[in-house]
């Protein structure tokens, strides 16, 4: 019996090893959105292209939307941009949120690089971004027709994220899931 007890440390060590092994390769700074499964937070902000028109969460309902939070001062956003253009050409409905940015620069940006967005919400002070839990641009949210957040992508949206995470969810939503 005593001999058996002496094996307890080995068992504990193996468990510890498994826990540590599991952690390798994962990005410890990646956070899942706290909003998944909940409504888009309330906001009241102007559009970039039509500054006197104000929109709110109601605007986002009715169709499946990719809400892309970006800014001209963010280098990764620049890298992500061509892929967004690609997705837009495929018919994906993308709404932009210009986060803590200068509207003039944002307009210039879009003119120079093309416009993948159905429209862009101007979030100068970053209040919508804050309420969305954005902690580092770019971030992209998948919102279903009822206005519920289904997924958040932190960092540039690339084909891997699209294929593995977002597209399957969009399909699921389309089938009523």
């Amino acid at each position: 019996m005593r001999r058996l007890m002496l094996f307890l440390p080995v068992v504990l060590a193996v468990i510890l090893g498994a826990i540590l092994y599991n952690g390798i390769g994962k990005d410890p700074s990646h956070l899942d959105s706290a909003l998944v499964g909940r409504q888009v937070p309330d906001f009241h902000l102007p559009l970039l292209q039509q500054p006197d028109k104000m929109v709110g969460p109601e605007q986002l309902k009715g169709k499946t939307v990719l809400l892309n939070v970006w800014a001209t001062w963010c280098p990764t956003c620049e890298m992500e941009y061509p892929y967004l253009m690609q997705l837009a050409k495929q018919g994906v409905y993308i709404v932009g949120v210009d986060y803590k940015d200068d509207p003039a620069k944002a307009k210039q940006w879009i003119e120079q690089r093309g416009n993948p967005y159905a429209y862009v919400i101007q979030d100068n002070k970053g209040t919508l971004g804050f309420d969305l839990g954005v902690y580092g641009a770019p971030e992209t949210f998948l919102i279903d027709p009822k206005g519920i957040v289904r997924y958040r992508q932190v960092g540039a949206l690339d084909s891997q994220a699209w294929k593995n995470k977002i597209k399957p969810l969009i399909d699921k939503i389309g089938q009523g899931g």
Partner: protein, 158 residues
């Protein structure tokens, strides 16, 4: 692929150095609450810093939110809930007491109690053996058994 993205995202929060962000409150109690809350809330994108000391812009935004809510009369719990509802449990440095954290909060304590019990048993056994030894003037039953085992092992190894 992902690690360099994190690097980019962090490209404006280069150092782990303290940021000084003075806020004024009308009572010292409110200031103390602000300092306490910003001490226990974590910056979601930094490498292990609270929002009090972090230089990241998101930490500055969070500090502003905490200060605004305190000025508006919110309780500590309301402030915490507001930030957790946006950024997740990750931003709380003090894990909530719930089923999934029982192991954390109670585990070591339970192990300690078990340890104390074991020590107690050992101490009492020692005392019992001593009494038996005193009483019998020679080896106690347990010690005789032990002697037998030792002699067995000894004859096996030497």
């Amino acid at each position: 692929m992902r690690w360099w993205i994190s690097l980019f995202l962090c490209c404006w929060a280069l150092t782990a150095q303290a940021t000084v962000d003075p806020y004024q409150f009308d009572t010292p109690a409110k200031l103390a609450r602000y300092e306490h809350l910003t001490d226990i809330l974590r910056c979601p994108k930094c490498q292990d810093e609270n929002i009090r000391n972090s230089g990241a812009p998101i930490a500055a935004d969070m500090r502003a939110k905490v200060a605004a809510m305190i000025r508006d009369g919110a309780t500590d719990q309301q402030v915490i809930d507001a930030l957790v509802s946006r950024f997740g449990e990750f931003v709380l440095y003090k894990p909530r007491l719930e089923r999934r954290t029982w192991l954390l909060w109670y585990g070591p304590f339970v192990v300690g109690v078990i340890g104390l019990l074991v020590v107690w048993v050992l101490a009492m056994r020692g005392r019992r053996l001593a009494h038996e030894r005193d009483r019998e003037g020679r080896l106690s039953a347990e010690e005789r058994e032990r002697l037998r085992q030792l002699l067995d092992e000894d004859s096996r190894t030497s």
